[in-house]
Symmetry: C2
Subunit: 456 residues, 2 copies
């Protein structure tokens, strides 16, 4: 009777599970699975429609997931791998809110991650990343499972033999990662170390125990910078329990840094960069992405238009003043761009630390005074030469001097401000610098002109 | 008598050589050395004052240089290495014109280069680079001599033994370079190949003969891109005779790409970047470097001032028009910056080829039409709301539409033009785009306004 009641129980769990999943009550499904024996879970999952198997699997706790995945019947594993590739599964997961997903999906066990990654092509891996639970642009998304791992008690000769047999299956054989029985990363070893060691030494006695590693959720740019900083050829990726789940190699890092730099440069140029290739994107998408930015700048520019409208009386009196408005705001914009470019690039390459902000803004302010003095003198002569009015020329010169300081200070300070607010300095700085320079610049100019011309 | 007359000859050569070098008649010194026996050259060079030894050595032909450098007395080699580090020697070489230097200095033999590089620290290497004859930012300047080279007839077991003994002295042991008796590069081998091969196989039978290499004068950015393209960990550097002289490793490439990118970004921001750190440079140097750029832009902006001065009559009649000048030129500048940023970054990463110019300019022109339409409509409403004058609002809208197209076409076309003229698109594009947008933009605006207002 035992076997019958057990079958009944399995059937009951499977039915309830299917109903809950169909209702998209994932919380309920997860709760249902908690007290059930893992063998029964396996049976229940096997009985589900295919599209639901992978989701039910992902709702399991870490301990249950490995038991189910490693279930004696190898077809279970294969079925699950196939399920991970399924489009409709990804569609369901995609529709969950990100925090729901994080709450429902436990981290997958290291062993399962490695098996899944090995059986999925890089393209499939990317597509199933949501199911794996790694967010985009993190180490978890760019790591490869093709590393060599060893146990500490293996000898150098045995390790070399193992490498010989696996060399063609691994992305890099130049670093070996040493793990304990629970897959936890305990050491690292280069092929160089192995080559120069005696054949009967154990790996544990020659490995390096201070391993630099990153976590699955480390940002890819930080992964790249770490590899760059240490001149590594690869870096190990561990999960929250220190279990080795993959490695990131230096050749991927080159591509990541290039992609990140393109995004930085596009942001500086006022382009929202989605990582996709601009030259292959639909033109309407391109226009739509660019227009948002231009509309923001149009609105900020309207403030300048309002200021000028407000000050029309002085322009009506001395139309000659109008001629220098483009020169003043363009030069201010250029000075601001120079300061902000240096600071933004410095922040992105970590050459500049946020705590150095005050010193750098001071420095840029002095640079602004120097530039303003030189340009101011040149422009006074130039403006007089163009219009023959000394008072207008002097008003232009003093305004340019003030605008240079304003521009270099806002150009260097705003990126720090946006960084401290958690915003991308490259994307945020330009409209604010433009507004500051244009609105305040025109205000400064017209008021200085009003004051100086009052002496005529 | 033979020995006396020989000593006399040596003395004569030494004296003449010294006189010619003191007169800085390097051409003459080189001619003097051509018919002399190498043993006599060695003696003559040894007799020279220290500061002249290295220069006399560099004037020798390739064949003579190796004979002198490999002269039986090891002190000669050591003296020459010391000479290469001397500041006054570098000062003299620095003062020669670059083409004089190229004509006078033969390429150094591969063996000599390697010995010199091995005995000079990276810092010294950089300082003596002029003497070595490699121009800055080329493979010759960034290569390291710390590679492993093998002969074809060596067995795998012998090679492994050799690697074991040298592993700690070489920067990378993961690639081995196979050379013939004349130091010419004939093949490449990875440690992986070696590990999986049978101990008694010869290197020649397992090596790869299709080697990707660069020349000493290959630009460092191209070296970096080649390594990136092939996912290499290192690339061999050969001289004009295919002799292996060094390798460039991937960790150096990461730094080069970062440095080149910083230069590109600084150029886009209107900063002349000398490869030095902006935050450690003297403020006056910073201001001097920036002001050149700003003065160029000031001059181009003066053209806008002249155009406005020329069209003052219409502005006098309708002062309201002035309010929209900043908005029009700023938006034009932004649209131009978006187009040029995409093209410049594309050219720098080689994602865009110069021959694709026409297609991309067309694409950007259409993007300009789309953007101009959207922004034009918005601005008409906005301008009317601001000033309540339909005619002015319509003039602003039509102008903005035209300026968007002008900006996207010049923004995408100018980088291609400058690239085809051999100029840096990142540095050259901004002032020309600004001028085009400002001067033509204001002209378009004021003339459209004149025409439209003529209906009132």
């Amino acid at each position: 009777m035992q076997s019958r009641s057990r079958q009944e129980l399995q059937e009951l769990v499977r039915e309830q599970l299917q109903v809950l999943l169909e209702q998209e009550n994932f919380q309920g499904a997860k709760a249902l699975l908690v007290p059930v024996q893992f063998a029964d879970i396996t049976e229940a999952i096997e009985g589900l429609p295919e599209a639901m198997q992978a989701i039910a699997f992902r709702l399991l706790s870490k301990e249950e997931a490995i038991e189910v995945f490693e279930y004696p019947d190898p077809s279970v594993q294969q079925t699950l791998v196939e399920d991970f590739k399924r489009q409709d599964v990804q569609y369901i997961v995609d529709r969950m809110s990100p925090d729901d997903r994080a709450r429902l999906f436990d981290e997958l066990p290291a062993k399962v991650v490695r098996r899944l990654l090995q059986q999925l092509s890089p393209l499939e891996r990317d597509a199933t990343a949501l199911l794996l639970g790694y967010t985009p642009n993190t180490a978890g998304r760019i790591m490869t499972p093709e590393y060599l791992s060893l146990k500490e008690n293996v000898t150098v000769a045995q390790a070399l033999e193992q490498i010989r047999s696996l060399a063609n299956l691994r992305e890099t054989i130049y670093y070996m990662y040493v793990i304990d029985d629970a897959s936890r990363l305990t050491g690292i070893l280069s092929l160089r170390d192995l080559i120069v060691a005696q054949p009967d030494q154990t790996i544990g006695s020659i490995m390096t125990r201070e391993v630099v590693f990153v976590n699955t959720n480390t940002d890819q740019e930080e992964v790249a910078r770490t590899i760059q900083h240490y001149d590594f050829m690869a870096i190990p990726v561990v999960d929250t329990e220190q279990r080795l789940v993959g490695i990131v190699t230096v050749d991927d890092v080159l591509d990541i840094l290039e992609q990140e730099t393109t995004e930085d440069i596009h942001a500086l140029g006022g382009l929202e960069s989605g990582g996709d290739n601009y030259f292959q994107t639909n033109l309407f998408t391109v226009a739509r992405k660019r227009v948002v930015w231009l509309l923001i700048l149009l609105v900020t520019n309207s403030a300048t238009a309002a200021v000028i409208t407000n000050q029309e009386d002085i322009l009506e009196k001395v139309v000659a003043l109008t001629a220098f408005i483009p020169l003043l705001i363009d030069t201010g914009g250029n000075v601001g761009a120079q300061s902000s470019t240096v600071v933004i690039r410095g922040l992105n390459t970590e050459e500049v630390r946020p705590k150095e902000a005050l010193g750098i803004v001071k420095r840029e302010a002095i640079a602004g005074i120097l530039l303003g003095t030189m340009l101011g003198i040149v422009v006074v002569i130039w403006a007089f030469f163009l219009q023959g009015n000394w008072l207008v020329a002097i008003a232009v010169g003093i305004s340019l001097f003030s605008i240079c300081i304003l521009a270099s200070v806002s150009g260097s300070a705003l990126p720090f401000l946006f960084r401290s607010l958690g915003l991308d300095p490259a994307l945020m700085s330009a409209p604010f610098i433009t507004t500051a320079v244009d609105v305040l610049g025109v205000l400064i100019y017209l008021n200085i002109a009003r004051w100086i011309l009052s002496f005529s």
